[in-house]
Amino acid sequence: MDIRYSDDELAFRTEIKTGLAEIVWPELAAKVRAGSSLEKPEHDRFHAALNARGWLAGHWPTEHGGLGWDPVQRHIFDEELYAADAPRVVPFGLNMLAPVLMAFGSPEQQAYHLPRILSGEDWWCQGYSEPGAGSDLASLRTRAVQEGDSYIVNGQKTWTTLAQHANKIFCLVRTGTEGKPQEGISFLLMDMQAPGVTRRPIRTLDGGFEVNEVFFDNVRVPVADRVGAENAGWTIAKYLLNHERTNISLVGESTHALEQLKAQARQTRRRGQPLIKNPHFAARVIEIEADLEAHRITNLRMLSDAQRKGAPGPEVSMLKITGTRIRQAINDLARRGLGPAAAPFPSEALSGNAALAAPEHANAAARYFNNRKISIYGGSNEIQANILAKHVLDI
């Protein structure tokens, strides 16, 4: 056993670190540190800068214009993104739709869509969940009825992240009612600007706007924009969810957030000394740190496994459960560490002499509440436990 990174991997890390230092501009880093949401031009500029280096598609296979990074390289890149205070790459086109097109799309679909994802010309969002179909995704009811060489789509999607910026949406729609619910689902590529598509922002509990409802009222979609065969959408959906789960350990994000937490606890004074010296608080930090260290190795063990086998197995559901628990525990401790200073909202209401904490710490409560979502979305932790019970423990 040798759990060290190889020399090549270490060199790769240095290359990424150096490059990101050139790409990430100071205002962007400050916004990311403060947990502020980014404007679309900021997303676009960062996206273009990564693309210029080829890193946007680093994990894509070379035949599709990528660099063919393996899971370990991809993980290193992810860690370095957080270390550089860079934003998360918006994943819907790049990490979710692209692998689907590579595996199930026609050559024409690949040739048309993949370059547009890289160029940023298309911003994709994901049309999966519906008000009545959350954990039970297969019960979705958005209908697509074929009429000539088009489908007519009616229904509603919800929790559509960043749909306010998107010009495209990939959707699971019902095309059949025979047999099991899973057997009548198709995967469609749709235009957000098409007549009959409307979106409504959903305000989240912390006051922010990142998710939306999307409504379809007799929206015409060319049959040619279906990916894979009719009624074969569930297979694609499962494939996509698996891809969504490959980067869910949150190791990079949590590592960075834990360092922020320690910095905060060094600055915060309690009973005449830094909070980090409070044994009660320090013990909580250490417990999270030990969990994160273990989780880091679990993640690398699974990445290394995926590197050999080619694809991750159902055991990656563990990464989601443990990863979100650790991330939420850090959020919780950051909020608690600030005490009453976490309560003012928005934290920008207190600036200059009136400020109670550094900008990168002040929004701790809002971030704690916002991150309750991570154990709910992308397959709730309860659904992940079902997957583990059925497919890993086999009980």
């Binding site: 969940s129 009545g132 959350g134 954990s135 039970d136 019960s139 919800t158 929790w159 959903i202 305000r203 989240t204 509990l205 912390d206 006051g207 004074r269 309690r270 009973r271 005449g272 409070n278 009660h280 608080f281 919780d332 909020r335 608690r336 600030l338 005490g339 009453p340 200073a341 976490a342 309560a343 003012p344 909202f345 209401a349 207190l350 002499n353 009136a354 109670l356 409560a365 809002a366 704690y368 509440f369 916002n370 309750r372 979502k373 154990s375 709910i376 979305y377 709730s380 932790n381 309860e382 436990a385």
Partner: protein, 357 residues
């Protein structure tokens, strides 16, 4: 032994709940709690007409209550309604004055004047021992210098009582008119308002130069009020979550049919029972030597178990609970943020542990 409330308190609690249901439904609450002044002066007036401030004052000082169970009778319904009226600060100011046997004005008992008690500071958010704000003699009066931080309700107080250290090293209680204070007001993440209070040789009137014991009593009253508020919120979260489990259909059945979720609903109800009981314990002890210890225990459990109830309520509701429109979101936010007022769970357990040794 009888755990049922007296008929009088039962009646007050019911009238209060009715009043709040009438004037503070969920939509109305969202409309006022997050916009300056982060409460509704009309609702404050209604609460005062009903006698809520007077309920917190003993008969000798012109009220009709002042016992531990009077505090919980008022604050549990206020919690259930997520009421952001600045009653906590007023209640603590009243408790301090009553403990000092200082005069309590009619306007204060009636609620025409809104008082707030300012103790916490940026580096000393909890407790009294390390306070840095100072009071110095200036002619016949006093001058206060320092900063009080995240003082809930101070944004719309007419009078501020300030805890400050004076030349003899003791902690005194001083009164300052709100107009004389340099104040930065803001809203809070869970609704309601607060302020930073900056004192720079600000003129003040001394109420007492030996206020440690009275401030401890005021803090005890505050912890009890917050614990009762938490019980009111937790009850609603537990109810809403059970209702949701019974009505939300996934996989062809109500999700309440899944045993894994049933057990989690049961855990939530166990936490709630602990909160109810420790709050009864603390209310019964208020005004006795065990009062501070039991109030600290109540606040400790509120911090720990309240958070678990809030987090589980969100998780079991799923995505809908992280939206602004969902009442469960606002209940959960308030229940979690109560921990950071007047000493969080870690602070309470440290205080209780020190008393062990």
């Amino acid at each position: 032994m009888d755990f049922s409330p007296t008929p009088e308190r039962q009646m007050v609690a019911e009238s209060l709940s009715r009043l709040l249901a009438e004037h503070l439904d969920a939509e109305r609450r969202r409309a006022i709690a997050y916009v300056a002044p982060w409460h509704d002066p009309t609702l404050w007036a209604h609460l005062c007409e009903l006698g809520v401030p007077a309920l917190l004052v003993p008969a000798e000082q012109g009220g009709f209550g002042g016992a531990g169970f009077d505090i919980t009778t008022a604050f549990q319904p206020l919690g259930a309604a997520l009421c952001t009226e600045p009653m906590l600060g007023h209640a603590m100011a009243l408790a301090a004055l009553v403990a000092l046997d200082a005069p309590v004005s009619e306007d204060m008992v009636s609620g025409n004047s809104r008082y707030v008690l300012a103790i916490g500071e940026p580096d000393v958010p909890y407790g009294l021992d390390d306070l840095e704000t100072t009071a110095n003699r200036a002619g016949d009066g006093w001058q206060i210098t320092g900063r009080k931080s995240v003082v809930a309700g101070a944004q719309s107080a007419t009078h501020v009582l300030v805890a400050a250290r004076h030349g003899d090293g003791g902690i005194g209680l001083f009164e300052v008119g709100a107009d004389a204070i340099d104040l930065t007001a803001y809203g809070m993440v869970d609704g309601g308002g607060a302020a930073e209070l900056f004192f720079d040789a600000t003129a003040a009137h001394a109420i007492s130069l030996e206020a440690d014991a009275a401030l401890t009593t005021a803090l005890t009253a505050g912890l009890l009020a917050l614990s009762a508020e938490a019980v009111g919120i937790a009850e609603r979260l537990v109810d809403l979550t059970q209702d949701y489990l019974r009505t939300r259909q996934q996989f062809g059945r109500p999700i309440a049919k899944f045993q894994a979720l049933q057990h989690r609903a049961v855990e939530m109800s166990l936490h709630l029972e602990q909160l109810r009981s420790i709050t009864v314990r603390a209310a019964a002890s208020f005004g006795t030597p065990d009062g501070p210890r039991h109030a600290a225990m109540a606040k400790l459990l509120v911090g720990r178990r309240g958070r678990l109830i809030a987090e589980e309520a969100i998780q079991l509701h799923g995505g809908i609970a992280v939206t602004w429109e969902a009442e469960v979101a606002h209940l959960a936010k308030r229940l979690v943020m109560i921990d950071a007022q007047l000493g969080d769970a870690d602070w309470q357990s440290e205080m209780l542990a020190e008393a062990l040794a």
